[in-house]
Point group: C2
Chain length 221, copies 2
DNA sequence: CCAAAAGTGTTTTGCATACACCCATGA
DNA sequence: TCATGGGTGTATGCAAAACACTTTTGG
């Protein structure tokens, strides 16, 4: 048995997604410490002895972005021996979905920066975070097709077009308007508010809201 | 920040499935040490500093059952603070599928026993292993419907009925013979050997084999 | 000859897909 | 009045589901 490495410590990494500018975006932080000084990475950190792994993910999400009560799902555990050059760290990866509306990034002294990047234009990432984000984006697609979690990316009230566009952006394909509306209505996951979204130079759109904002398994596509 | 607990150590637990006697069975070991003396548990153990988490799962699988090169997939990481009464242990759970044919259980001195239990008649389990096995059985169902991994539960040559029964046992529902054969043939994942299975007092069945025994995504049902 | 499982097609049904025009508004 | 996106229904294709009888063997 090797003496070269100590036992591993446990960390969490949280891939935070949101939609804006017709893109799926990922939150990254710029590192201040070696060996990845100046490199971007997914926010995360160690799991403390007195908190569960899930709680650690929530805590890092909260302190890095100020959001809580959002959709957060465990993704996969990355456990290669040399994934962190500075020591043996096993990372439990999570992904989170947050509505962009009113999001304000909290820049802390801990990092040299916090920024959103479109998923298709990520910079070079530290550790195995490229692999983690790819994995997260893949899981997000699968999940979106078989659950109602899209609600966590949208504001309380939204138009059918906004809903459809969200799917289009994440799944990366066009969706037929009429077929989509038919399907969504049959699923009973949204209901009409009586409100109307005015102010744009075209026909105003009806506003809808989710009947329930708890994760539920449904076949959207 | 709490001083009460040290940082966590990392373990793996492997839920090993096989099919026999028309049941889905799980391999359990009987513990010799407190605080779970005499209680059954899923095989597992610590992750060493010089091995990846995946390797640790393979190692524990091999030393407990003597099998290798079987289907092994990471399931979920269980990280509640008090899931192990003797210390802070975060467990990365895996599930494995092995063909029953010729399996011989290796009883080691480490444990008071090694046995197969039908999934619907498990004894009381140590730690959170009840939750882990439920989760594994659920994932197995999902996976079975969307991949070819059933091959890891069957011998090299098998009849269409054996194949169909395997699905029926795991999914817990009857499957129409003709529709099933039609679907399986359309998937191009099995091919006929020229052999025939004789010896039973009924019409002999053709033997088939899997074209490929590597995991592949297909929609079986 | 009997019991038991193997083998084999057709019809029906429901869901996914494809597709185009009119409407309401702000500028 | 024009540009822009909102809103709406039908026809077609395909895959899943339902369904029953004949065949081959061992005993």
């Amino acid at each position: 048995m090797g003496k070269k490495y100590k036992f591993a410590v446990i960390a969490v990494d949280v891939v935070i997604f949101t939609i804006f500018s017709n893109k799926l975006n990922v939150l990254l932080i710029k590192m201040k410490k070696k060996p990845y000084l100046g490199t971007w990475a997914v926010p995360g950190g160690l799991v403390r002895g007195d908190e569960s792994v899930d709680q650690a993910a929530q805590r890092h999400l909260l302190t890095k972005t100020g959001v809580k009560n959002v959709y957060l799902e465990q993704l996969y555990t990355f456990g290669r021996v040399s994934r962190d050059p500075s020591g043996r760290v096993v990372s439990v990866a999570y992904f989170a979905l947050i509505p962009f509306k009113g999001m304000r990034l909290k820049t802390t002294k801990e990092y040299a920066g916090v920024e959103w990047f479109p998923i298709d234009k990520l910079p070079r990432l530290a550790y195995d975070h490229r692999e983690i984000t790819s994995y997260a984006a893949e899981r997000l697609k699968l999940k979106l097709e078989r659950s109602n979690i899209i609600y966590s990316l949208l504001p309380n009230e939204f138009t059918l077009t906004e809903l459809r566009k969200s799917y289009e952006i994440i799944l990366g394909k066009k969706i037929d308007k009429r077929n989509f509306y038919k399907k969504i209505r049959s699923l009973n996951i949204i209901k009409s508010t009586q409100k109307i979204k005015r102010g744009e130079s075209n026909r105003p759109a009806k506003l809808y809201t989710f009947i329930s904002r708890t994760p539920k398994q449904v076949n959207v596509l």
